[in-house]
Symmetry: C2
Subunit: 214 residues, 2 copies
């Protein structure tokens, strides 16, 4: 049960480590040290060791980690040794962009339904999917046993959409933009606020400016 | 110069604290404790105190922080007491969605130009902007003194686009999807990989399943 208390920042880094390890694997590299992982992703070696230590003893002192085993272990921790069906609500520009986002399929996320309540969008094709009316949501969620929903609707409609997804049995939601949703305690929600990433850029720009003045 | 070594996770949290504080301010709340901030954003009170301590002594013991002052101070740290012009390359679904993303303007990011080299997109209007050919990039960057560029092009074109932006004087780049770009050391790059957020969801789903079995 120890692993239940893993900090979210560690989970995020594991996700990033696994991408780096997959690149090594594609280049035929079979072992890697924590320092090499650290350098590859831009964190300290101590951080890498600390993150991996949450899951017990990995690697051999002086030899490092077996790349293939470590990838497998991280993917298992992240729940990615299987594929995950996902439903997407909102067939506007964001929803359409998400449907074609290569990063999802690469990691085993398959969008099995895209929904909208806008009559001008229903019936449109996005990739290999047809935009369906929201009434069809319960049926698709049940058919594919979907647990994950992505909300790509205007901010004013996010809470209603979340309510509908939760009512269908969705247990994990991804939202976009400056919005907070109320959901039952057992539902996990994570938000992508793209402005936060831009603020990391401005922070760095401002510090560089200060730095060059001093 | 101490602040130059602020961990990026702290910068991210400051960005999130400021959003919470702005919600309090809109509700007319004038003082707040570190525990209240912690509860509002889902981190520990010790973490909030540690993050704010990077910037010296804030607040009054037993009284808490002045909401207005704290917002101003955080925005100053993040470089957000001014507006930032931004250029966006790629007028596909993602680029179009980003142009209409309310979270940017709310935080002072103004997209001043959207570019594409696809003849079917050039001349199209997105919000109040006309999609311009990439040749116009240097002129717009210079005119508005732009330092920040967002890359929303297909993965295969990301590196070329980054090179062009850097050549124009852009010093901070935001990229999307599973991609790594090579840029000169003085350029800051941050990447949004939306699948990482989905993996936090699956991690939580898997642990909830384990939890309910145990």
């Amino acid at each position: 049960m120890k692993a239940l208390r893993i900090p979210e920042a560690t989970v995020t880094r594991l996700s990033i480590y696994s991408r780096f390890l997959e690149r090594l694997e594609r280049r035929g590299i079979t072992t890697v040290s924590s320092s090499e992982i650290a350098k590859g992703v831009g964190v300290s070696p101590a951080q890498v060791r600390k993150d991996l230590a949450y899951f017990g003893e990995f690697g051999t002192r002086g030899v490092g980690y077996n790349v293939k085993d470590l990838i497998h272990y991280i993917l298992k921790i992240l729940g990615l040794t299987r594929t995950w069906p996902v439903v997407l609500v909102g067939a506007g520009n964001l929803g359409t962009a998400l449907c074609t986002y290569r990063g999802f399929r690469d990691r085993g996320f398959h969008i099995v339904g895209i929904f909208d309540n806008d009559l001008t969008k229903i019936g449109k094709r996005v990739q290999d999917l047809e935009v369906l009316p929201l009434e069809r949501l319960p049926e698709v969620v049940e058919e594919h046993n979907v647990k994950i929903g992505i909300i790509a609707v205007p901010l004013s409609a996010v809470q209603d959409t979340a309510d509908q997804l939760v009512a269908c049995g969705i247990r994990a939601l991804l939202t976009f933009g400056p919005v907070v949703v109320d959901v039952p305690e057992e539902v996990v929600v994570r938000n992508v606020d793209l402005a936060v990433k831009l603020e990391i850029l401005t922070f760095n720009l401002v510090f560089k400016e200060i730095h060059s003045v001093l």
